[in-house]
């Protein structure tokens, strides 16, 4: 299996090339948001997604690549994977001429996609320079004889544009491979999806995502309180990008508190002083992550649930309306209220199943309303009153 070794050699060469290259100026790097700074540079950097990575790694050496369809929730590595793959196939010199990236920020009407792809496909295939340099280059990058068209965020393309794409894909299939990327595979029309090998990107599992976060924190010299990683994972729901952004912002917060401690305080109030004490000005705390993630404190949700309980004295309406008004003024997002309330109610054993059955229907209505842009105050108040009504039934 010569090719196997070939691949290894190639990877080793590429790796040494990387480390040999001058690191980008420190200053510049520091200014990048961490999600970009830690965007995987090669397939090896991709966390989780083992199946996909294994299959793609095999394509690095064979000179063939199928059309591909990547799908999965936000922040799971779809765009990163295809970019890393392209980089490893073509290397820095060829990538510009061999890869066309079209995403939702580009005009993607039928004729425009067709034109752009046509122009791109017709361009002569660029090749590594001749001579020893070229041979070196080929050792590192296989430079297979086709180009890649990446259609990122393809679920925002219209059905018509997608249909038109079928022909385009066929016409140029000798020299181009397509990679379609989307969040919802159901929004890609069947004839198109069936032309591609499908790769599902799963929400990142805690173990893998946790390790990546720990690495980043270590690299950035950020101390984490116990449980911070777990909280990051809980709040980001398998979206690594979100988790990294939370982490960065929490780290900045710690930095700020430290700076503040050393800065002479101008008319500071007592509770500022308390903040500093709690966080100790050193490690990122679990509470700060919750805060940043916009998670509603348990106590607030409990207060809402309490207000919805049937009572003998006083009116349920007044108490529910009071809590809801406060929550709206606090700016909690309605979708967050709905999902936290849902979790609380559905897992509450004290509520009988026949009540839960009715309650979940209300949640369905409310969710639809919110997605359509209904007024949040009315929607939440309505939801809570309806739930309270059900709870009050005998």
């Amino acid at each position: 299996m010569a090719s196997f070794f070939d691949l290894k050699a190639r990877q080793a060469a590429a790796a040494s090339a990387c480390s040999a290259k001058v690191a980008p100026p420190k200053e510049n790097n520091r200014l990048q948001p961490w999600v970009e700074k830690y965007r995987p540079k090669s397939l090896d950097d991709i966390t989780a997604q083992d199946h996909t990575v294994t299959v793609l790694r095999r394509t690095l050496q064979s000179s063939n690549l199928p059309h591909m369809l990547f799908y999965g929730p936000p922040g799971t590595g779809k765009t990163s994977t295809v970019l890393a793959l392209a980089k490893q196939l073509y290397g820095p010199d060829l990538i510009k001429t061999r890869v066309l990236e079209l995403n939702a920020s580009d005009e993607r009407g039928i004729s425009i996609v067709r034109e752009k792809v046509k122009d791109f496909a017709r361009m002569q295939l660029s090749n590594p320079p001749a001579g020893p340099a070229g041979i070196e280059y080929r050792k590192r990058y296989s430079c297979p004889p086709y180009k890649i068209v990446i259609l990122d965020e393809a679920d925002s393309m219209t059905q018509d544009a997608q249909s038109a794409l079928r022909r385009t894909m066929e016409t140029y299939s000798k020299i181009t491979r397509f990679c379609l990327i989307c969040n919802y595979v159901t929004r890609i029309i069947d004839p198109l999806a069936s032309r591609c090998s499908k790769f599902r990107f799963k929400s990142l599992d805690s173990a893998n995502a946790g390790r990546r976060l720990e690495d980043i924190a270590a690299n950035e010299n950020v101390d984490l309180e116990d449980g911070v990683i777990e909280m990051l994972l809980r709040c980001s729901e398998g979206d690594l990008r979100k988790a990294i952004t939370f982490l960065q912002s929490a780290a900045r917060l710690v930095g700020a508190l430290q700076a503040k401690k050393s800065r002479p305080k101008v008319g500071g109030t007592d509770d500022d002083a308390m903040d500093v004490e709690i966080t100790d000005g050193k490690a990122v705390t679990v509470r700060s992550i919750e805060d940043i993630a916009g998670v509603i404190p348990i106590a607030t949700i409990d207060r809402l649930l309490q207000a919805m309980q049937p009572r003998n004295k006083g009116s349920v309406y007044e108490s529910v309306a009071g809590v809801v008004t406060d929550m709206v003024a606090e700016g909690w997002s309605a979708t967050q209220v709905v999902s936290q309330l849902y979790d609380k109610i559905v897992y509450d054993d004290a509520i009988p199943d026949r009540h839960k059955n009715k309650i979940v229907m209300t949640f369905s209505q409310t969710d639809k309303g919110l997605v359509d842009g209904s007024d949040e105050h009315l929607a939440i108040l309505d939801l809570c009153l309806q739930v309270a009504g059900v709870l009050g039934e005998r």
């Binding site: 520091r30 200014l31 990048q32 948001p33 961490w34 999600v35 970009e36 936000p74 939702a104 920020s105 580009d106 005009e107 009407g109 990122d152 965020e153 925002s156 969040n183 979206d239 990008r241 979100k242 952004t245 960065q248 912002s249 900045r252 917060l253 930095g255 700020a256 700076a259 503040k260 109030t269 500022d272 903040d275 940043i292 993630a293 916009g294 009116s315 349920v316 309406y317 309306a321 008004t325 003024a329 606090e330 700016g331 997002s333 309605a334 979708t335 919110l370 997605v371 359509d372 842009g373 209904s374 007024d375 949040e376 009315l378 929607a379 108040l381 309505d382 009153l385 309806q386 309270a388």
Partner: protein, 352 residues
């Protein structure tokens, strides 16, 4: 003459009078150099914009305050010309894409790429990136939001976005995943009183504590509203005291009147009268949702507890219809009819 709201608007993070910890957080983000994209959300009148302007100043210094208004023309794929206003300083732009309705995608696509591909003109600028502030981001169409996704990643060395919204519910998940969420809660009534005291002091007005408390309560924790009422009370009265009446805005007074009429009589003739008033409100540019909500809040105290949940349900129902439909008056009127029916049936049942 500038309104109080504008005249005494705090211009730096230090000058902001509440949510101290949030100001501190924004300051640390601004100073860190790796400022992320932000999605700032919270109820209206909570001071989101003020806080962001102050953050921009922290980022770039006083230069951001020198703004001019550009008018730009964009061309849609169907060759329609769109006029669009941009508020800009050397360092940042501010846009309201919902101004052009369904064509917002074109604006977002063209403008942001253009910004992203040009370097900072001012070489001594403190940040390498420019900031684009997008107002009413929750009104962006799905297409426009999708158009932001890759742009936010690809051009992050040159471009940061600050999205302002009342809520995150209408922001698609991939965008939420790309931004740091910043919640700006409404100030509490106590905090509003503090602001009123400060502003009143600058105007040389004697502090009337009870009156200020009443204004704060009346404002529904909306600072902009509170300041407008504060100004109105002082403008309309030579001497103010604890019991000086706080005049509600005209439109609110009219809705109060409608509520009274609906309660008093449940007939088709009454619906007709009410319709004229609803039209009146609409032609004065009061949003249909505001009318429906205000009407609901005014009706609720006038009815029995047993009916309240039902009224809220139908109010939410027709508000949803307002969103989805095209003729808002139909749904407002339908709510009025529904309410009359509910109340009438309830009263009949009581009689038996």
């Amino acid at each position: 003459m500038a309104l109080l709201v504008d005249k005494h608007r705090p211009r730096s993070l230090d000058a902001l009078s509440y949510h101290q910890d949030l100001s501190e957080r924004l300051r640390s983000l601004a100073q860190s150099g790796d400022f992320p994209h932000l999605l700032v959300y919270g109820p209206s009148g909570a001071g989101k914009k003020t806080r962001i302007v102050a953050t921009l100043k922290e980022l770039y210094g006083p230069g951001v305050e020198k703004i001019k208004i550009d008018s730009r023309v964009f061309q849609t794929t169907s060759n329609r010309k769109l006029e669009f206003n941009i508020v800009a300083s050397v360092y940042h732009l501010e846009i309201t894409p919902s101004d052009v309705g369904n064509y917002d995608r074109v604006v977002v696509q063209d403008l942001l790429k253009e910004v992203a591909q040009t370097q900072q003109v001012d070489l001594s600028a403190r940040q390498r990136f420019k900031v684009v502030v997008i107002n009413e981001a929750d009104h962006l169409t799905r297409d426009a939001q999708a158009a932001l996704r890759r742009t936010m990643e690809k051009y992050s060395p040159n471009l940061r976005l600050i999205l302002l919204a009342n809520s995150t519910s209408n922001i698609i998940a991939p965008i939420r995943s790309r931004t740091l969420l910043v919640r700006v809660a409404s100030p509490t009534e106590t905090e509003i009183c503090q602001v009123l005291k400060k502003v009143g002091g600058k105007e040389g007005w004697k502090e009337v504590e009870v009156l200020n408390k009443r204004i704060a309560a009346e404002s529904g924790r909306n600072l902009r509203r509170a300041l407008l009422m504060f100004e109105a009370v002082h403008a309309q009265n030579e001497i103010v005291n604890d019991s000086t009446p706080i005049p509600p805005p005209d439109w609110e007074a009219l809705i109060e009147q409608i509520a009274g009429e609906i309660i008093a009589e449940h007939t088709p003739a009454r619906i007709l009268q009410v319709r004229a008033k609803l039209y009146d409100l609409l032609t004065h540019c009061i949003p249909a949702t505001t009318i429906l909500k205000t009407l609901t809040w005014k009706l609720i105290p006038k009815i029995d507890d047993a009916l309240k949940a039902d009224v809220v349900r139908w109010s939410a129902f027709y508000e949803h219809r307002i969103r989805m439909g095209t003729k808002v008056i139909f749904h407002l009127e339908a709510f009025v009819a529904k309410f009359m029916y509910l109340l009438e049936s309830y009263l009949m049942e009581m009689d038996f």
